[in-house]
């Protein structure tokens, strides 16, 4: 009898898990179940549709219904899993018509993801607090703009918050960003690097209020203003970008164990504590390869890599996921911002003593017209002299520098080894001395 593989969720982790399972086992019966109407689309692209860089939300659908058909993946949309019975090895579902069904499995993959989250702030039950997690969320924001919104408050200065703030400002709205922590992009950047981003955004006309927690939502039934750090701010639109919370309840109810970050705990094969039950994506915790500690790393790149491993193992192949370093990039206006590994702040929190090498340089030879500024900051573990983190802000070519340093971190390179990297140069493409090599040399001087 063919192996029955059931995947709960059908986005980044779920689709990659199902695809990898199909490649591993050509005869398995593979079913994906999602509550959403649309499956297999890119959430990361949502702000760029609002900005107008991508014509329509439909363009974000990476995997069409025909992809599922060609791969012989049975896709059930608008269907909710109400229970996982690990004893009987079935999942119980209910579709939008109210019809219930028991779907049996030999292997189960939980990719229930995460949902946008608004902290328990006074008045949060009021209408008009708009998250940006799904296509439907994006359409609501789009509708609010078309209905004539002139101003917006974005709550949260993480990646989604800032990308959305830029998108709204580009659509002509007056935008204020409110962040509880004293800096923007706190998970990615140290304060000194975040300051560059803040100044750039303010220069473009976005108001940035850091160190100001949202204390209250004002308005009768619908939010018309907020109080943040004692200041009252009115606006036509309120975007919730506080962050996401993993959807773990279904798994917990089935006896799946959580780790110390309160996300689903798996081993390197993405197996949970229950036999034949795997998990991947935003609902699982990862191991940080530098600190060897569990971390919450809810990124699309992590989700697809974990999903692939879960799918192969669920289909009785063998694959392992080595953990995460935490590489991320974004583009705000014409500024590219990237980070990998630990910030100084995160290293300190993990009890790691660091030295830093930082340099401002150019993306092409200094004399070459149109050379753009770039700043590279390296974080080095003092004791081992290993590279453990990097932050880069520049006009271009940030992503592949981050990727190069990410590989250096994964291979546990020392800063001395990085300072001797054999890098490429031509005047229209790079400086003679690669900026991250110079940053490594600066760190070495401090280690003398």
């Amino acid at each position: 009898m063919p192996r029955r593989i059931v995947v709960i969720g059908a986005h980044a982790a779920g689709v990659d898990a199902a695809s990898a399972a199909r490649k591993t086992d050509r005869t398995a019966e593979i079913t994906l179940i999602t509550e959403e109407k649309n499956a297999g689309y890119s959430r990361c692209g949502l702000p760029f549709v609002i900005e107008g860089k991508i014509p329509s939300f439909k363009d974000l659908i990476v995997f069409t219904p025909d992809y599922f058909r060609m791969m012989r993946l049975n896709l059930k949309t608008e269907t909710k899993v109400t229970k996982i019975d690990t004893g009987k090895k079935v999942v119980e579902t209910v579709d939008k018509t109210g019809k219930t069904e028991e779907v049996p499995y030999d292997s189960l993959i939980i990719t229930t993801g995460a949902n946008a989250f608004t902290p328990p702030i006074k008045g949060r039950e009021k209408q008009g607090i708009l998250p940006l997690r799904t296509i439907e969320d994006g359409e609501r924001i789009e509708q609010a703009i078309r209905n004539g919104a002139k101003s917006a408050v974005v709550m949260g200065a993480g990646l989604i918050g800032l990308e959305t703030a830029v998108a709204l400002q580009e659509r002509g709205l007056q935008v204020t960003v409110v962040e509880m922590l004293p800096q923007v992009l706190p998970a990615m950047l140290d304060p000194d690097m975040a300051k560059i981003v803040e100044e750039m955004l303010q220069h473009k006309g976005i108001r940035i209020l850091t160190g100001k927690p949202v204390e209250e939502f004002l308005g009768k039934d619908k939010v018309t203003g907020i109080v943040a750090g004692g200041e009252q701010i009115s606006a036509d639109m309120f975007v919730s970008a506080f962050g996401v919370r993993a959807n773990t309840q279904l798994a917990v109810d089935a006896g799946v164990a959580l780790g110390e970050t309160k996300l689903i705990k798996t081993n390197q094969r993405m197996e949970t504590n229950i036999e034949d039950v795997y998990a991947a994506g935003d609902c699982v915790e990862s191991v940080n390869m530098i600190t060897q500690r569990p971390v919450v790393q809810q990124l699309g790149t992590v989700a697809v890599r974990q999903g692939k491993v879960a799918g192969i193992n669920a289909a009785k192949g063998y694959a392992t996921f080595p953990g995460v370093i935490g590489s991320a990039v974004t583009k705000l206006y014409d500024t590219q911002i990237g980070a990998t590994g630990l910030t100084e702040t995160a290293a300190k929190r993990a009890g790691i003593e660091t030295v830093v090498g930082a340099i401002s340089s150019k993306t092409k030879a200094d004399y070459y017209p149109s050379a753009l500024p770039i700043r590279v900051k390296l974080v080095i573990e003092k004791e081992t002299q290993r590279v453990i983190g990097a932050q880069i802000i520049g006009g271009e070519d940030v992503t592949q520098r981050i990727n190069a340093i990410s590989i250096a971190i994964q291979k546990q390179m020392t800063v001395r080894e990085l300072s001797k990297a054999d890098t490429a140069y031509a005047p229209p493409l790079n400086e003679t001395w690669e900026p991250f090599v110079l940053a490594a040399e600066i760190a070495l001087m401090k280690l003398r």
């Binding site: 695809s19 069409t64 025909d66 992809y67 060609m70 791969m71 012989r72």
Partner: protein, 136 residues
């Protein structure tokens, strides 16, 4: 040839709903996969095709295509005996992405029931309408 939302649909071919095309060449037919299909699969890295002499049956799998992420059965649009296999596609599977209707043909088949089975396929106009329904 027309383009439906960027997917090419040439005239003069018959189409199956399993993303196959059939071109009648005298008393033999040439078969392959549609532009829509290759675009769903993306970079095809491996094509497993039957050998000359194999008998294939309409609506049944005769091979597989594999890309970095996907794998899909090839479903025969027509029944018959394989007389030629495109070796170029086997050695250079990316040919399927580059030119699915010409250089990327898969098999030449001597059909066993061409007239009877053509009724199960779509002509050009039907295929254009079907492609429109796919992209909705």
């Amino acid at each position: 040839m027309v383009k439906v939302d960027g997917y090419e649909v040439p005239e003069g071919l018959y189409y199956s709903k399993d993303y196959g095309w059939v071109k009648i060449e005298g008393d033999r037919v040439r078969i392959g996969i549609t532009d829509y299909a290759q675009k769903q699969l993306r970079e095809i890295v491996y094509a497993e095709l039957p050998s000359v002499g194999t008998i294939i049956k309409q609506n049944e799998p005769y091979g597989t295509l594999e890309s970095v992420k996907a794998v899909s059965d090839l479903i025969a649009p027509i029944s018959g005996t394989v007389e030629e296999v495109n070796e170029e596609v086997q050695s250079k599977p990316e040919t399927l992405n580059e030119d699915p209707y010409e250089k990327g043909w898969l098999l030449v088949v001597r059909p066993s029931n061409l007239q009877g089975e053509l009724a199960n396929l779509m002509d050009f106009n039907q295929a254009v309408e079907w492609h429109k329904s796919l992209i909705k």
